[in-house]
C-alpha cells in the first residue's frame, strides 16, 4: 500500500539556495513519492498479471453469474445452491446488515442502561455496571462469540428435549424456534393501518409542539399516539376478519415442526456483538452525561423545572451532542466486527465471499467487493449520523 510516503532522500543534491527553498523541496519530495509509488504499483500489477496468467484465472466479474453450488445456513431472500454467486453475495450482505442492525439496537439499549448505571448514586448498581464494563471491554469479541457458540448454545438440550419458553418459543442447540406469522388475504390492510398510525402520530407530535409553542396548551401526545398505533391496526385486523395466523412450533418426538428458527450462529454473533459493544457505549454515555456541567442542572432546578424534565429537556440534549460522534464509530465498529461471523459459519458477506474465493480463486475481485461494501456501509452510517448530529448540535448565533 501507500507506504512509500516516508522516503527521505539524501541531501547531496546540487548546492545553492534552491535546496533550502521549502517549496522546491516540497515538490521534490512529492514527485519522489509519486515516482516510488508508481514504480511499486507497476511492479505489483506486473507480478499479479503474471501470477494470474500462470494460475489460469480470468480476472473480471463474469464469475458472479456462475452457479454457486453451496448452501447457506440462513437467508432472508430465496436462495438455493443453484443460485448465482451474485445472489449468494447479496444474501451475505443482507445477513451482515441484519446482524448489524439487531446488534446496534440491543447494544444501544444495554449500553445506555449500563452507562447511566455507572453514574448512579446507588453504590451497588454503580459497582455492578463497572464490573460489566471492565469485564467485556477487556476480552476479545471473537472469544465472546465462541463463548456463546461453543460454550453456551452448543450444550443446550437436543431438539427433542427443547426448553419451552413463553409465547410458544422453544430453545435448543439448533437455535430459537418461534411462531411464524402467516399473512393471509387482507392482512395488507392491517400493515397499512399500522404504517398510517405511525405517520399520523408523527404529524400529531408536530401539531402538538406547534400548538404548545403558540398557545402554551399541552396535548397528551404519548397516550394518543400509543392508542393510535395499537388501536388502529387492531381495529382493522378485527374488521377484516383476523387474517394473520401463527404457525406455532410443536415439539415432536425427535424434532420441532413448524415455526421459524433463528440459528445458533446468528444468536451467538448477535449476543456477543451486543454485549461487547455495549461496554464501549456505556463508557461513551457516561462521559457524555458527565460532560454536561453541573450548572445546567442547577440552573434548571433554580427555574423550578422538575428533576425528570430537567433530565429530559436540559441534560440529555446536551449530553447527546457529546455522545453522538463516538457512538457513530462504535456502530461502525460493530458492523465491521460482524465479519467475525466467518469464524462460526454465519453466512455474512465475508463468510460467503470466503467460500466463493476458495471455489473460484477470484481473490482480487472478492476482496474488492468486500472493501467497496464495507466502505460504503461506513460512509452511509457516518452520513446518517452526521445528519443526526447536525440536527442535535448546538445552534450558535
Amino acid at each position: 500500500m501507500a507506504i512509500g510516503v516516508t522516503t527521505t532522500p539524501e541531501k547531496t543534491k546540487p548546492s545553492g539556495s534552491i535546496i533550502n527553498d521549502p517549496q522546491v523541496r516540497g515538490i521534490f519530495y512529492q514527485v519522489l513519492t509519486l515516482v516510488v509509488l508508481a514504480a511499486f504499483v507497476y511492479w505489483v500489477a506486473d507480478n499479479t498479471i503474471e501470477n494470474l496468467k500462470r494460475a489460469n484465472i480470468a480476472s473480471g466479474y463474469d464469475f458472479l453469474n456462475g452457479r454457486a453450488g453451496f448452501d447457506v445456513g440462513q437467508s432472508l431472500i430465496a436462495y438455493t445452491s443453484d443460485s448465482t454467486y451474485q445472489r449468494a453475495l447479496i444474501v451475505g450482505l443482507l445477513n451482515t446488515l441484519l446482524v448489524a442492525v439487531c446488534g446496534i439496537f440491543t447494544a444501544t439499549i444495554i449500553g445506555f442502561a449500563v452507562g447511566i448505571g455507572r453514574l448512579s448514586h446507588n453504590w451497588l448498581i454503580a459497582k455492578l455496571s463497572l464490573a460489566y464494563v471492565e469485564i467485556f471491554r477487556n476480552i476479545p469479541p471473537l472469544l465472546v462469540i465462541f463463548f456463546w457458540y461453543s460454550g453456551v448454545l452448543a450444550i443446550l438440550p437436543q431438539p427433542r428435549e427443547s426448553a419451552a419458553l413463553p409465547l410458544n418459543m422453544f430453545l435448543n442447540n439448533r437455535g430459537l424456534a418461534f411462531p411464524k406469522p402467516i399473512f393471509g388475504d387482507g392482512s395488507l390492510y392491517t400493515v397499512l393501518a399500522f404504517v398510517l398510525a405511525i405517520v399520523a402520530s408523527f404529524l400529531l407530535a408536530r401539531y402538538a409542539r406547534k400548538k404548545q409553542e403558540a398557545t402554551g396548551q399541552r396535548f397528551p401526545v404519548l397516550w394518543t399516539s400509543l392508542g393510535l398505533i395499537i388501536g388502529l391496526p387492531l381495529l382493522v385486523f378485527l374488521a377484516t376478519g383476523s387474517p394473520i395466523t401463527f404457525d406455532v412450533p410443536i415439539a415432536g418426538k425427535f424434532n420441532l415442526t413448524g415455526g421459524s428458527v433463528i440459528g445458533p450462529e446468528f444468536l451467538s454473533l448477535f449476543l456477543a456483538l451486543s454485549f461487547y459493544t455495549a461496554a464501549f457505549i456505556a463508557e461513551i454515555v457516561r462521559a457524555g452525561i458527565r460532560g454536561v456541567s453541573k450548572g445546567q442542572t442547577e440552573a434548571a432546578h433554580a427555574l423550578g423545572v422538575r428533576p425528570g424534565l430537567t433530565t429530559r429537556l436540559v441534560v440529555v440534549p446536551q449530553a447527546l451532542r457529546i455522545i453522538i460522534p463516538p457512538l457513530t464509530s462504535q456502530y461502525l465498529n460493530l458492523t465491521k466486527n460482524s465479519s467475525l461471523a466467518v469464524a462460526i459459519g454465519y453466512a455474512d458477506l465475508v463468510a460467503v465471499g470466503g467460500t466463493i474465493l476458495n471455489q473460484t480463486g477470484q481473490s482480487i475481485e472478492i476482496v474488492t467487493i468486500w472493501i467497496v461494501v464495507y466502505l460504503s456501509l461506513s460512509l452511509a452510517t457516518s452520513l446518517f449520523m452526521n445528519w443526526f448530529n447536525a440536527r442535535m448540535a448546538l445552534v450558535e448565533r
Partner: protein
C-alpha cells in the same frame, strides 16, 4: 487601644462528640449509598437479587464443583457420558486447562526446544519491568535493549537454524507466545508508523496528505479480517513467482498496518490539540521540521493522547485473536484446537477452555489500562484542560 482581657482561655481542644448514629458509620453509609430514596431501595434489592441469583451458582460451577485434576475426559463427564462424575454434575473442567497448559503457552513448539521461548520471555520481562517503572534510570539503554536487542535475540532464538539451533518453522509456534509476539511487534511498529501517517495527513504537501488520508480511511473502513484475508490470499499474488512470505510474517504485516491506521488518528487528535503558538515558537527558534516535531510538538501531543494510544494497544492485543481465523494457533486458536482432542471431549471442556483464555486476555488488557491510568498521573504536569 482597647485590649480585651480574656478570663479563660482553653489550652486544648475538646474532643469532638460522636455524630448521631444515623450520620456516621455503616448505617449512614447504607442509607446514603443503597437506600437513599424508594427508587434506590428498589434498585438495590433488584441488584442484590440478581447477584444472589448469579454469583453463588457461578462460584459453585467455577470453583467448588470444578474438576481440578485428572488425566482424561472421565473427570469432566458424568457417569452417563462415560465419566466418573455423578449424574447431573456440571462444573468447570480445570483439569483440561491444567493438562494442556504447556500447549496453551508454547503451541506445538518442540518440547526439547521450549527453553528458547522461555528465555525470550524471561528477557522480555527483565527488560520491560525497569522500562515500565518511571523511577528506574538508564531509560535510553533500556529502550535499546527492549526494542532492538530483544527482537534480534528473538529472531535468532525462536526460529533457530543458526548457531546449531534446530530450525522450528512458524506453523509450530502457537499459544500465548504467538499472541505476545504479534502484539509486541504490532505495538512496536504501529506507534512510529502511526505517528508518520498522522504527520503526513497534516502535511502541507497535497500528494503526501492525500496518500496518507486515503490509506488511513481505507484501512479504518474495513474489518481486520478482510485485511488478514488480503494478507494471506492476495499478498502471494503481488509478489514475483518463487518469492514466498511466511504466513506468520504476513499476519504480522496485516495486524501492524491495521493498527497503525487507528494509531494515526489518535496521534492526529493530539497534534491538533497543540496550540498553534507551539509550532510557531519552534519555527521562530529556527528548528528544522524534525527538530520541531521531536523536541516540541510530539512530546506534548503524545502525552495528551496516552489513553487513546493505550486503547489502540488494547484493541490490537484483542485483535490478534483474529489470526486464529486464518489458521494460526494463537492463544484462542490453540485453545479451540484442543476442543477436538477426543481424550478431553466433554460438554464442559469448551466453556472451561474459553473462560481460561478469556481470563488471560482480560488480565493483559486490564493491566494495560491500569498502567495507562498510572502513567497519565505520573506525566501530568497540570497543564491539562
Amino acid at each position: 487601644m482597647n485590649t480585651h482581657q480574656a478570663t479563660f482561655v482553653r489550652a486544648s481542644m475538646i474532643e469532638g462528640s460522636p455524630p448521631p448514629i444515623a450520620e456516621g458509620g455503616i448505617v449512614h453509609w447504607l442509607r446514603v449509598n443503597l437506600f437513599a430514596t424508594p427508587k434506590d431501595t428498589v434498585l438495590t434489592i433488584i441488584g442484590a437479587l440478581a447477584l444472589a441469583w448469579f454469583l453463588p451458582p457461578a462460584i459453585q460451577w467455577l470453583f467448588l464443583d470444578a474438576a481440578w485434576t485428572g488425566g482424561g475426559r472421565g473427570v469432566c463427564a458424568t457417569v452417563a457420558q462415560g465419566g466418573s462424575q455423578p449424574e447431573g454434575w456440571s462444573g468447570a473442567c480445570w483439569a483440561f486447562v491444567n493438562a494442556k497448559l504447556d500447549q496453551f503457552v508454547y503451541g506445538r513448539y518442540p518440547l526439547e526446544e521450549r527453553w528458547r521461548p522461555t528465555l525470550v520471555g524471561i528477557l522480555f520481562i527483565l527488560f520491560l519491568v525497569p522500562m515500565a517503572i518511571p523511577k528506574v534510570p538508564y531509560k535510553g539503554i533500556n529502550a535499546i535493549l527492549l526494542f532492538a536487542v530483544l527482537p534480534l535475540i528473538s529472531l535468532i532464538l525462536l526460529p533457530g537454524g543458526w548457531f546449531g539451533l534446530t530450525f522450528v518453522e512458524t506453523p509450530l509456534w502457537g499459544g500465548l507466545m504467538v499472541t505476545l509476539i504479534l502484539s509486541f511487534v504490532g505495538i512496536a511498529v504501529s506507534l512510529p508508523l502511526g505517528i508518520l501517517l498522522a504527520l503526513g495527513r497534516r502535511s502541507h504537501m497535497p500528494v503526501i496528505k492525500m496518500l496518507c488520508t486515503a490509506f488511513i480511511e481505507l484501512v479504518r473502513g474495513i474489518p481486520l479480517i478482510t485485511v488478514l484475508f488480503m494478507a494471506s490470499v492476495m499478498l502471494p499474488l503481488f509478489l514475483p513467482q518463487g518469492v514466498t512470505f511466511d504466513k506468520f510474517l504476513r499476519a504480522l504485516i496485516g495486524v501492524s498496518l491495521f493498527a497503525s491506521a487507528y494509531m494515526a488518528e489518535v496521534v492526529r487528535g493530539g497534534l491538533q490539540a497543540i496550540p498553534k503558538g507551539q509550532y510557531e515558537g519552534a519555527d521562530s527558534l529556527g528548528l528544522s521540521f524534525w527538530q520541531k516535531m521531536n523536541l516540541i510538538v510530539l512530546p506534548q501531543a503524545l502525552k495528551l493522547v496516552i489513553p487513546g494510544i493505550v486503547n489502540t494497544f488494547i484493541g490490537l492485543f484483542k485483535d490478534t485473536s483474529l489470526v486464529s481465523i486464518i489458521g494460526m494457533f494463537d492463544l484462542l486458536g490453540i485453545v479451540r484446537f484442543n476442543f477436538t482432542d477426543a481424550n478431553w471431549a466433554s460438554s464442559v471442556t469448551p466453556i472451561s477452555g474459553l473462560i481460561f483464555a478469556g481470563f488471560i486476555f482480560w488480565l493483559f488488557c486490564f493491566g494495560m489500562s491500569r498502567y495507562s491510568g498510572f502513567m497519565e498521573r505520573v506525566l501530568d504536569t497540570a497543564h491539562k484542560r
